[in-house]
């Protein structure tokens, strides 16, 4: 029993390694925020590309769908390994500039930036699907109203559809952000000293897992409040919908028209 508590909760180890673990966690936070923001933007770009209208743009839609399918369908670790391997090999061979293959922007290491790229490529695909659900949940009449006012497709998306869609999907996007934050731990395999890697190093050196436990606690300090925030946002949205005062009340097709005129003799709404 003592062995178990000592292995996980050795306060001596925690105290000695605290600043090292905290440095690792700071790297995890930076990695999460930069990748999170880039994924949000990249995901939105993908979602909008996927919704482009017209036959001429069908190839763009197909390519976007293929991209999303591939990156949602393969493990992030595999993406990270392939990407970092390719970039370092390509700069070594002179195929791409050294600054791109071994990036050290803003004083961060190459593994850090490879991680940002891999996380963004993968989570952009996840988030694109979330945005798509939001875009499709905006009533069709909104696009028609915008177009009938002379706005083109791009303007209608930018000023009418996307702002409404984003509001609807903030909770699932935050859920994806929580998942992304946890997945930053995979970047350790490329050599980044994130909180999990630091904790693992300590465990290997001292045969004691307390630094990892400490890292877990640091994660929870962020992820639990975020999860509660998601719950709260969802509950708030539900309340709005239930009392009928939701953002789309009276403007969507869910308002039953007053039966006016003669009984329907054919297809309604034609």
């Amino acid at each position: 029993m003592d062995f178990i508590t000592n292995y996980y909760f050795d306060f001596g180890v925690m105290g000695d390694e605290f600043s090292r673990v905290l440095d690792g966690f700071w790297l995890t936070v930076k990695l999460s925020i930069i990748s999170g923001v880039l994924s949000l933007a990249w995901g939105l770009v993908l979602a909008v590309l996927r919704q482009l209208p017209g036959r001429a743009l069908a190839p763009v839609r197909w390519l976007t769908i293929a991209y999303i399918d591939v990156f949602r369908g393969v493990p992030l670790l595999l993406v990270l390994l392939l990407l970092s391997g390719f970039l370092s090999a390509a700069q070594f061979e002179g195929v791409i500039p050294r600054e791109l293959g071994l990036p050290t922007w803003f004083g961060e290491t190459s593994p850090f930036w490879w991680g940002v790229m891999g996380l963004t490529l993968t989570y952009g695909a996840y988030m694109a699907e979330v945005y798509r659900a939001g875009i499709e949940a905006v009533p069709r009449g909104q696009m028609e109203a915008a177009r009938s006012l002379g706005m083109n497709h791009g303007q209608s998306m930018r000023f009418v559809i996307v702002p409404q869609a984003v509001r609807k999907v903030i909770p699932p996007l935050l859920n994806d952000f929580i998942a992304l934050m946890k997945d930053t731990s995979l970047v350790g395999i490329l050599g980044a000293l994130d909180v999990v890697q630091v904790g693992f190093d300590v465990q290997t050196e001292q045969i004691n897992g307390s630094a990892l436990t400490l890292g877990a606690l640091m994660f929870l300090v962020i992820t639990i409040p975020l999860a509660r925030l998601v719950d709260w946002l969802i509950a708030r949205q539900q309340r709005k919908t239930e009392r009928g005062g939701g953002p789309s009340a009276g403007t969507s097709g869910d308002v039953e028209p007053r039966p006016a005129g003669p009984p329907a003799t054919g297809m309604a709404g034609a």
């Binding site: 028609e144 109203a145 177009r147 009418v160 009276g250 007053r258 003669p262 054919g266 309604a268």
Partner: protein, 244 residues
Amino acid sequence: MLRLEGVHKRFGDLEVLRGIDLDVAGGQVVCVLGPSGSGKSTLLRCINLLEPPDRGRILLEGREITGKTTADDRNYVRRRVGIVFQQFNLFPHKTALENVSLAPQKVLERQGAEARGKAEALLDRVGLSDKINEYPERLSGGQQQRVAIARALAMDPHVMLFDEVTSALDPELIKEVLDVMRELAAEGMTMVVVTHEMGFAREVGDQVVFMDGGVIVEQGGPAQVLDRPREERTKRFLGLVLER
């Protein structure tokens, strides 16, 4: 002003419009009546190219807007043809004022202050000067529909289309919307109005068109079509409506 020649539209196997000919002179109000599924709404949606017709021609101020149209053509049409929908379709994330001033700013590239000034004047005209900063969810159906009319007018349309704009409203809210439309007609706006409001058609309509099964069954002055219909189908329809 607006001329339709043999307009056809089908959705899959369903032929919704089967050859519509219609002439609307400048300043005229044409009221379109007919049972559900007769193609009235589709007709309006064809006129502003939300649903491009499959066959036939539509001319707006002498210029053909059907056939091979580019995105620019469609946007040209939609700037000149305003439409108001049954379900209002206001932008829920924007205030009444922003709903009205958005398209003029983005499409006509009017300056913010100018577009807002004009939007305020339009909202005043539809009797909502005290609601300019409200979001749609805080407005009644009648108020929302009046904002929607102001929003369409903000683009300075030459023709206004009304698609059963009072059908989703509680009975006591219908009049306030019809009053705005009456005023608009009196000011000389060219209007095509799909409606079940017989009183409005009789009073405001210069022409009444009765549609059924994707064709125009009968058209003429309101007194002629509503009081002395020649066609059996028109009589039956009017009988059903007036029984209520």
